[in-house]
């Protein structure tokens, strides 16, 4: 008990009564002026930065410039949520797989059904013709198929549960020293 009380006191000393610590954390944004995403991006080589998305656009001009960079209309352009998934100024594009796209449209690259300088979604490598057919209507919807599979599994479990023991019924196993045991031969 005393150890727990001491631990509590220690945590109080380190956090609640730690005035410098509290002041520092309250003014962290002012005291430490570093953009972690910028620092992370600057760690790459210039030849690599060339292919990376820019930082998240903060002003209207940056926003429009980013939209123009990806060939999108500023109203259409929607970057990833910087708090949930920070992907810089890269747009959060709808997932349309190869199979869901029009095969009769004159694509610049028919093998991937994409156009020249078209912005691609981040998961593009999973939406190619031999990968996921995301966006295509299925004969059985995915949730129904999952339900079907799990219900078959559940029915099997129930069957295993209610099945009787089909081993041959035997009387209790005999252990030496625990009762008198006889063979079926006569003396």
């Amino acid at each position: 008990m005393a150890a727990i009380r001491n631990c509590r006191n220690l945590s109080k000393i380190l956090s609640v009564k730690n005035k410098p610590f509290i002041n520092f954390t309250r003014k962290y944004e002012e005291l430490v002026d570093d953009d972690i995403h910028k620092a992370f991006r600057d760690d790459f080589l210039p030849s690599q930065i060339k292919y990376l998305p820019d930082l998240y656009p903060k002003t209207k001009e940056e926003w429009n410039a980013a939209a123009a960079r990806y060939g999108l209309h500023p109203d259409e352009y929607k970057p990833w949520d910087p708090l949930r998934d920070y992907n810089g100024d890269y747009p959060d594009l709808p997932l349309i797989s190869y199979d869901a796209k029009d095969p009769y449209y004159p694509w610049d690259y028919p093998a991937t059904r994409t156009n020249y300088q078209e912005a691609l979604p981040l998961e593009f490598q999973n939406l190619l013709g031999d990968r996921l057919e995301y966006g295509v209507r299925q004969p059985i919807e995915h949730w129904k198929a999952a339900l079907l599979g799990w219900s078959i599994f559940g029915v099997c479990l129930i069957l295993f549960w209610i099945m009787p023991d089909t081993n041959q019924a035997l009387l209790a196993k005999q252990y030496p020293g625990q009762g008198k045991h006889y063979t079926f031969e006569l003396k």
Partner: protein, 124 residues
């Protein structure tokens, strides 16, 4: 499988599995039954060899022989096929004995039932 369904749906007094016999072991035999030969190994030796309690049966000595051979010949444990065979044969014979005991119990229960019904018929 067939036996299991018979036990499930029959009205006969089938004994439950893994129960002890309820009748006198000598009843119905012309002479006296032989006692089962206990393995020539002490409980202390089994404990010292860390044999699990469920294996300290009438085949414990053969089990121990097999384990000794296994440790000696490891990893070429197929050289212990004789020991393994003797142990498994012993366990099989033990199961056959248990099956015989079960059948004896079942038949004696049926006999009891027949006698009871005959008494009731005579009384009625």
């Amino acid at each position: 499988m067939g036996n299991s369904f018979q036990i499930m749906f029959s009205s006969d007094p089938f004994p439950k599995a893994d129960t002890d016999p309820t009748f006198d072991p000598m009843f119905g035999f012309k002479g006296e039954r032989k006692k089962r030969v206990e393995p020539a190994i002490t409980e202390e030796a089994l404990i010292a060899a860390k044999v699990p309690t469920n294996l300290r049966d009438y085949c414990a000595h053969k089990y121990l022989d097999y384990q000794r051979c296994y440790m000696k010949e490891f990893p070429f444990v197929t050289r212990c096929h004789d020991e393994a065979h003797h142990y498994l044969q012993c366990e099989y014979d033990d199961d056959v004995l248990r099956a015989k005991e079960y059948e004896r119990e079942r038949r004696l229960r049926l006999r009891e039932l027949r006698k009871q019904k005959a008494l009731e018929a005579a009384a009625a």
